[in-house]
Amino acid sequence: MKFGRIAWQGAIHEVTPGSDAKVRLADGREIAEGQFTWLPPVEVGTVFALGLNYADHAKELAFKAPETPLVFLKGPNAITGHKAFSRRPSDATYMHYECELAVVIGKTGYRIAREDAMEHVAGYSVANDYAIRDYLENYYRPNLRVKNRDACTPLGPWLVTRDEIANPMKLALSTRVNGKTTQQGTTADMIFDIPTLIAYLSSFMTLNPGDVILTGTPEGLADVKAGDVVETEIEGVGCLINTIVDDQTWSATA
């Protein structure tokens, strides 16, 4: 199953895909795109993100692959939905997307064995983990000013339940900027796979339903500018669309 969350007519609705690119409410009514606002498909708990979790990307950034997962966290402020806007500050010279498979936890667990890990997965979504490299500093790197900016981590459009994805470790990822493909990879190239990440994180903290692990990105990063439409897509999971805006647009009062 695929589930989305939307805001429509004063309420939040869980929806499923309808006909002709519409979404279907619980009572069967179908709503056309443009009539509602997409929300992140889950109300996120703790959001983990992985750095340098694809060998090719680590090489691209001139790092050797880490020996333990390089994990950082995001606050709720960072997350935004499908078809939303992300801000490129005027002083930035390099802001790049990162197409990532998001793993949503569905069952509480502590010290989860690697072989039991997949039972704790509710499903998957697509994340775009934007970074503004100008703000990188060598303290708790990647620091929050790079990675935890308001609305700079779009998530969605769907939560795709685990049973729909036969092998999450063999999915094609791609990013298109204004229709042109700029990033291509496969989840098969992850250094630390999903069961390893769940076992690692739960070795010291309890994972709960709604927690999300953004599993890292392959090579193929590129600068994006205000006005660019960025589509991050993962085979079988969905295509997440985001538009970059400048400071004035971001700060404009309606």
Binding site: L70, V71, P76, E137, Y140, R141, N143, N148, F204, T206
Partner: protein, 222 residues
């Protein structure tokens, strides 16, 4: 120990190297690799929901660990959303302050995010009361005291903050919104006092109250 509810329930953010004493003690190391310069922006981290416990908690360390650093600090608790605030607008957004023991497994390097070290379950004991700013008075006059098994092991004055509260909140809220109910810790010192498994810890400050907890060893293999 009597168990209390933590006074906060929103997101908790912290900052390192926000006191001149820590910067001074780290000294020349800040200029060298891997840091290559003193930090420009506030160096932040997140204490996820599972870390927050109330006074009276027993905090079990991750497997194989037997000691923690007790980062005595104050949490700024927001009474309104804070986004892109100027320093002079900050006080109106603050509901009050709460005493916090920000626990970390000892780590010497600040280069990579310290997730296992700072995010294990129970790693953020929080006091039971948010004290309004008017009751707290001048933060620079606050001294935090850390006791382990009844002995005073560290005192820390808040008079030497690199960024005072208005400046810190203005800088942080410039790129990330702090929501009503969220907490921003004013900073922990580098290599704070340690407590061993089995010990009882208390962090207190005049006019702010105290947070008390016990440390238990991590069971199982590392």
């Amino acid at each position: 120990m009597e168990a209390h509810k933590p006074a906060v329930s929103g997101a908790v953010y912290g900052v390192i190297l926000n006191d001149r004493d820590s910067l001074q003690r780290m000294g020349a190391a800040l200029a060298d690799a891997p840091y290559k310069g003193v930090p420009k922006a506030p160096v932040l981290y997140i204490k996820p929901a599972g870390t927050v416990v109330g006074s009276g908690a027993v905090v079990s360390l991750p497997a194989g660990e037997s000691a923690v650093e007790v980062g005595a600090t104050l949490g700024i608790v927001f009474g309104q959303g804070a986004a892109r605030l100027a320093p002079e607008a900050v006080p109106a957004a603050i509901a009050g302050y709460v005493v916090v023991a920000d626990l970390s497994l000892p780590h010497v390097s600040y280069y990579r995010p310290a997730i296992r070290e700072k995010c294990f379950d129970g790693a953020c004991p929080v006091g039971s009361r948010v004290v309004p700013g008017a009751e707290v008075g001048d933060l620079a006059s606050i001294t935090l005291r850390t006791y382990v098994d009844g002995s005073l092991v560290q005192t820390r004055s808040l008079a030497d903050l690199v960024r005072d509260v208005p400046t810190l909140v203005a800088d942080v809220s410039g790129f990330m919104t702090l929501r009503r109910g969220d907490t921003l810790l004013v900073g922990v010192t580098w290599q704070a006092a340690q407590a061993r498994a089995g010990s009882r810890v208390r962090v207190e400050a005049d006019r702010l109250g105290a947070v008390e907890f016990e440390i238990a060893a991590g069971e199982g293999a590392a």
